[in-house]
Symmetry: C2
Subunit: 165 residues, 2 copies
């Protein structure tokens, strides 16, 4: 993906800060252990792959990379690692894209919304605590008890707005 978005800090974790990736992995390791789970090699590597990716990756894209590095070659290998990461708050599933992205703030539990750029396919994570509160109110008005929510916005990221069409 040769995208025009890698000029500022909004594209992906790998380009957002100098050592953010290492820091995130560290946090992830800790977080998993606290939850009584193990960040095994495949899982860790899967998280790295997501962190290095520009935008979200499909399960089969992740699988391809894992396979190339000597891990298993079959779909469940990728799906299991990805699901593990999602369940432990280290990654998110982007349903509109049938894809996964590393969590930008794995250090604390949070509600996230995703801003998906139609032009360059980048995915930005935005805080959705407020939104979820509003959603919860709307749900309660309908007698619905909210557990969790998916909020995905589609549009144009900053870089792609600026860039000529």
């Amino acid at each position: 993906m040769t995208s025009p978005t890698h000029q500022d800090g909004f594209c992906c974790a790998a380009h957002s800060g100098s050592d953010s990736m290492a820091a995130i992995l560290e946090t992830a390791e800790t977080r998993a252990r606290v939850q009584g789970a193990r960040l095994t090699p495949v899982r860790r590597r899967t998280l790295e792959i997501l962190l290095q990716a520009h935008g979200a990756l499909g399960a089969y894209e992740v699988l391809e990379k894992l396979a190339a590095e000597g891990y298993g070659t079959q779909p469940p290998v990728a799906y299991r690692a990805l699901n593990f990461l999602v369940e432990h708050g280290l990654a998110h599933r982007i349903r509109r894209l049938n894809a996964f992205t590393a969590c930008a703030q794995p250090d604390h539990d949070h509600r996230a919304a995703f801003l998906i750029c139609e032009t360059c396919n980048s995915v930005t994570e935005a805080d959705a605590d407020l939104l979820c509160r509003a959603l919860d109110q709307a749900a309660q008005a309908a007698g619905f008890q909210l557990d969790r929510a998916t909020i995905e916005a589609v549009g144009q990221c900053r870089a792609c707005q600026d860039a000529p069409e």
Copy 2:
């Protein structure tokens, strides 16, 4: 689907009002014509199927019903009709379920959020105009220009909260 949700008006259009289905079809017909599109037999029937359904239906479930009634038997038949309905504001796609549901308010353009019951799989449409405004603000703060959004909540509907587990 023998669900415990059909005691009140929150399950599906078919059970929500006395003649709401006929009224909705009427509205749909008009709306399509206004947009320069035709609500052909397959499309109309597809909408009816969605309206009669409890909860959302997968494309292949719709296809099965269409096929049984003498329409085409292959996936594109269902997908085309469903996509038509979605594009013309007569139905919604529920991404979390890989399914479709009839629009509850086809008479006016609106933003919708969906409340998906984990227990009985019912899908309730809720107004999301306010939510979308809030989302737009959050997006703008990130320099993102919002076009449209998917908001899907997962939890328990009223009936399933009341019902013993």
